[in-house]
């Protein structure tokens, strides 16, 4: 029995720590990959300490988690005590029910409904910015509370109720009875509740995304938004560091429990007795020390990170909202284009400016936050079809091109496109074309070419398809020669038939997992963006030989810089856009993301061409003949709500088959 339980315990800890071991291992990976280990390197740790944006989010996350855990523990414990004493059975079960609600609602619903409430309330009371750190904190406290209450309540029910009664009979005040008798009894549950609250707050991303204010981002949101290029290994390095800090603390607290310090404590106790004060309750003391200690550690950690990422309040703030991993951020020796703007601006205009750079994971997420008027961003970078929709809904401001003289460097191909026919609202930032990536060690050269490779049953179980309806249907419709923006439902039905036929050969429906799976040889064929092919190529395993081609026709997309109506400083936003078009930052961004640039200063630059190499240039900037014609024919357009709903139901049919 003893032995069996020891083995069981050991196995459970192996299970719990297996992924942590992986984090540890891959944080030392030389390549960017999270699935192929190519050599030992410390570079991700260096990256981490240089990456002030990430450190800032770590600080935000810690501050938020400490506040949320603290408030929800105190309020939750008081609530549990109150609920436990309620004599009305109905009231008690009603409270039980209400307490469960935040746990039941899927995160996305909790997030959106809280956002709606905050927006509604701030309109009612006339606040300018409805979302802020406070709303984020309120949301976190709300979803932490049930976990605290659920911990403390059963403990109270388990407790012998005659104990506090006895204490009071013996002359204790009610408050004293609670403090001296009940509290020590329920303390373990309170501590677990607090730990749970802290943990939950530390990890939440969906609710945080919807309730946070302009420019305040937490670490999980940052990681979740890294959808363009998957999670970077410096996040693994960060996790590894956190792990060792906690482990060290654990060892330290165990050490302080050792005999030496017990002797010391005995001496202190004797001194206390000698001075005539009553001895402290050792149990309460220990708990107090534990709580105080852990809070102090977190506070110190937060303070250190505060110092590293000091934010002196500069008079001017520019809020930029972009995709995750979509700008050159200074990692691996690149130019930090946002920092460079701050420096350049101060030199040029003699006034400092602070850029708050935050990220989103999809056009729809970005739209949700802007459309409810909950935030104020100055520059956003949506994709083409979303720009069309935002122009239609009056969510964008026309640009003053006198402030954006560098617009002249945008190639002719990118003028007068369907989403902004007058070129009034947007400045192209990057563009891409969907191609097919395959592992040449597995796929016959003869089978490559065209969309049919993705339906080829020779490679059954080796093919990756997009895990979102628009892109997946797109592959089928380009293959069948259908218009991807058609309102004819029978065309969509036909595409569904093709996708259903493909399902048996599909290994996996993927988003950013595509990087891992192609790099490691887990799959052999995938449709993805040209720029991302090079990111994969950088990290492919030894036995993998990735190649790329464009099927015809295929999808084109453009992401462009725009100024939303909630903008607070339009001229500054335009200066920022102009700066991003200038040579150095534009090249840095294009090199970092590996996406094609619409900027002639970039793709005609000799150094850039050298850096990319001939092959990459040929793939990224193919000769498309009349680009505008192709783009307008094959790019996705904004579809009306009913059609989107219909496509989504077809998608559901595909997914439940």
């Amino acid at each position: 029995m003893k032995k069996a339980s020891k083995i069981f315990t050991a196995l459970m800890f192996v299970f719990l720590f297996a992924p942590i071991a992986i984090l540890l291992l891959f944080s030392f990976n030389e390549a960017r990959s999270l699935s192929v280990f190519s050599g030992f390197s410390l570079k991700w740790y260096k990256e981490l300490f240089r990456d002030t944006e990430t450190l800032k989010t770590v600080r935000n996350t810690l501050v938020l988690a400490v506040c949320a855990a603290g408030v929800s523990t105190v309020m939750g414990t008081a609530a549990a005590v109150g609920i436990d004493r309620m004599r009305s059975k109905y009231l008690r079960s009603a409270m039980d029910m209400v307490t469960n609600i935040p746990m039941i609602n899927p995160d996305i619903i909790t997030g959106i409904s809280m956002m709606l409430m905050f927006v509604f309330a701030s309109r009612l009371f006339g606040f300018a910015n409805s979302l802020s750190f406070i709303t984020l904190l309120i949301a976190h406290i709300t979803f932490c509370l049930p976990y605290v209450i659920l911990q403390v309540l059963p403990k109270l029910r388990q407790m012998d109720k005659s104990l506090p009664e006895a204490a009071m009979d013996l002359g204790c005040t009610p408050w004293g009875a609670f403090w001296k008798v009940e509290l020590p009894e329920i303390m373990p549950a309170i501590v677990t509740g607090m730990i749970m609250a802290f943990t939950l707050s530390l990890d939440d991303f969906v609710i945080s995304y919807f309730t946070t204010g302009t420019g305040f981002q937490t670490l999980p949101i940052r990681i979740y938004n890294m959808t363009k290029k998957t999670v970077t290994p410096d996040m693994y390095a960060l996790a590894t560091l956190i792990f060792f800090v906690i482990l060290a603390l654990l060892l330290l607290s165990n050490l302080t429990d050792s005999e030496d310090s017990q002797k010391l404590r005995a001496a202190r106790k004797a001194k206390r007795a000698a001075s005539g004060r009553p001895p402290r309750d050792p149990r309460k003391q220990r708990i107090l020390y534990a709580c105080g200690g852990s809070l102090a550690v977190v506070a110190v950690a937060a303070a250190v990170i505060f110092a590293v990422t000091e934010t002196d309040n500069k008079p001017q703030v520019l809020n930029v909202y972009n995709w995750g991993e979509y700008i050159s951020d200074g990692s691996e020796g690149t130019l930090d284009t946002v920092k460079a703007f701050e420096v350049w601006y101060e030199e040029e205009y003699g006034r400092p400016v602070q850029v708050n750079y935050t990220t989103f994971a999809s056009n729809e997420d970005m739209y949700a936050k802007l459309s409810f008027d909950a935030v104020s961003y100055d520059v956003v970078i949506p994709s083409d079809y979303m720009i069309a929709r935002m122009i239609e809904e009056d969510m964008l401001l026309p640009l003053d091109f006198d402030n954006i003289p560098n617009y002249k460097y945008i190639a002719d191909n990118f003028h007068g496109l369907y989403y902004d026919p007058e070129d009034a609202y947007s400045v192209p930032y990057a563009y891409g074309i969907v191609g097919i990536i395959y592992n040449a060690n597995e796929v016959d050269e003869a089978d490559a070419g065209g969309w049919d490779l993705m339906w080829n049953d020779k490679y059954a179980g080796r093919i990756l398809q997009f895990n979102n309806s628009r892109d997946a249907f797109g592959t089928a419709m380009y293959r069948a020669g259908l218009d991807v923006n058609t309102t004819d439902r029978s065309a969509w039905d036909a595409a569904l038939e093709d996708l259903l036929a493909q399902r048996s050969v599909v290994r996996s429906y993927v988003q950013d997992e595509v990087y891992n799976m192609m790099e490691s040889g887990e799959a052999a064929v995938a449709a993805y963006y040209a720029g991302d092919y090079f990111t994969m190529l950088d990290a492919e395993a030894e036995n993998v030989d990735l190649r790329f081609y464009y099927p015809e026709p295929t999808n084109f997309y453009i992401d462009a810089m725009c100024i939303p109506t909630c903008c607070q400083n339009k001229e500054l936003a335009e200066i920022f856009i102009n700066f991003m078009l200038s040579e150095e930052p534009a090249i840095a961004n294009a090199e970092y993301t590996w996406y094609a640039s619409p900027n002639t200063l970039v793709y005609e630059n000799e150094d850039y061409i050298d850096e990319m190499g001939e092959d990459a240039m040929a793939i990224l900037y193919p000769d498309w003949g009349d680009f505008a014609e192709k783009y307008n024919a094959y790019a996705y357009r904004n579809l009306d709500g009913e059609l989107l709903d219909y496509i989504n139901s077809l998608w559901e049919t595909l997914k439940i088959n």
Binding site: F17, I101, L250, S508, E522, G641
Partner: protein, 295 residues
């Protein structure tokens, strides 16, 4: 009732007041927004169409025998989500219960160490941990490399139900262990010894003494694992090869398709169903606990 107890009841009645206020503003008002969206259309006119759609929408599914079958889309999705969540909860309970018991019987220092060790993995980011599981479970992953080196053959786990269950169990296990442990740590072990001394078989001790004593912990553990795992979507996407379409995915998809009203309707139905299930579960277990050994 003495004067003191009366005063005490007054004091503790006030204790939960902040929470009650908080719950009304920050739980019930957002809930009202969900209900409002669930019962309106895109133009905010009242409708029950969203609710009926959940129960009546059908799609054609081809079975294993190749025959097409009309099924109720969202009921199928609900059934799959509930099934995976229930399996994960049971696995969590089967693993977490003995572990919590073992921990609660260890020395105080070992208890503290082990509980901290259980919490540490939770402090690494959830998304990153799920990614790490992909690296482990892939066909070309760590586990298969290890098995290959030991000449034990290969296993295909990723993309199967097993992988999704592993992911869910991993993420929610601490939420099972913590409530169990905090109850077991304060359990009266003299009762167990007494039962043994009086000739009760080990299984009998477990069933008649330990289980009823730890029942509040079981109920809370099950609640905290089952409920979030029904609406999760990230784990099933990453570890299920995108092949499992669960309620969380359905809600996410409706939101992306600009159909917030139907997304709210799905969430609303889910909530009503779960609250009803919880009420029943609590009633049953209350009877069992307080009518059993602990009373």
């Amino acid at each position: 009732m003495t004067k003191k107890t009366a005063r005490r009841n007054l004091v503790t009645g006030v204790a939960s007041a902040p929470y009650e206020l908080w719950a009304v503003i920050f739980i019930l008002v957002p809930l009202a927004f969900v209900a409002y969206y669930a019962f309106t259309d895109n133009a905010f006119r009242f409708t029950t169409a969203n609710i009926t759609r959940f129960f009546t929408a059908t799609s054609s599914v081809t079975g294993a025998d190749g025959a097409a079958d009309e099924v109720r889309t969202y009921l199928v999705i609900t059934w799959r989500s509930v099934k995976l969540a229930v399996i994960s909860t049971i696995v969590c309970l089967l693993l977490g219960y003995p572990l919590a018991y073992i921990i609660s019987r260890s020395s105080p220092r070992a208890q503290k160490t082990m509980m901290t060790l259980i919490m540490i993995p939770m402090w690494m980011n959830f998304l990153i941990r799920t990614y790490a599981w992909m690296t482990i479970l892939q066909d070309t992953g760590i586990l298969n490399n290890l098995l290959g080196k030991l000449h034990l053959g290969r296993v295909h786990i990723i993309g199967t139900e097993a992988a999704v269950v592993i992911g869910m169990v991993y993420d929610y296990l601490p939420y099972m262990i913590l409530p169990l442990y905090s109850i077991m740590a304060k359990m009266d072990y003299r009762l167990i010894e007494a039962a043994r001394d009086l000739g009760c078989a080990p299984m009998g001790v477990l069933r008649r003494v330990i289980l009823p004593l730890s029942m509040p912990g079981v109920v809370n553990g099950v609640t905290m694992v089952l409920i979030p795992s029904i609406s999760t979507f990230y784990i099933s996407q990453k570890l299920g090869d995108g092949m499992f379409f669960l309620l969380g995915d359905a809600i996410e998809g409706q939101y992306t398709a600009n159909n917030l009203h139907f997304a709210a309707a799905i969430a609303f139905i889910l909530m009503v169903a779960l609250l009803a299930a919880m009420a029943v579960m609590r009633r049953l277990t209350n009877k069992y606990t307080y009518g059993g050994a602990a009373a």
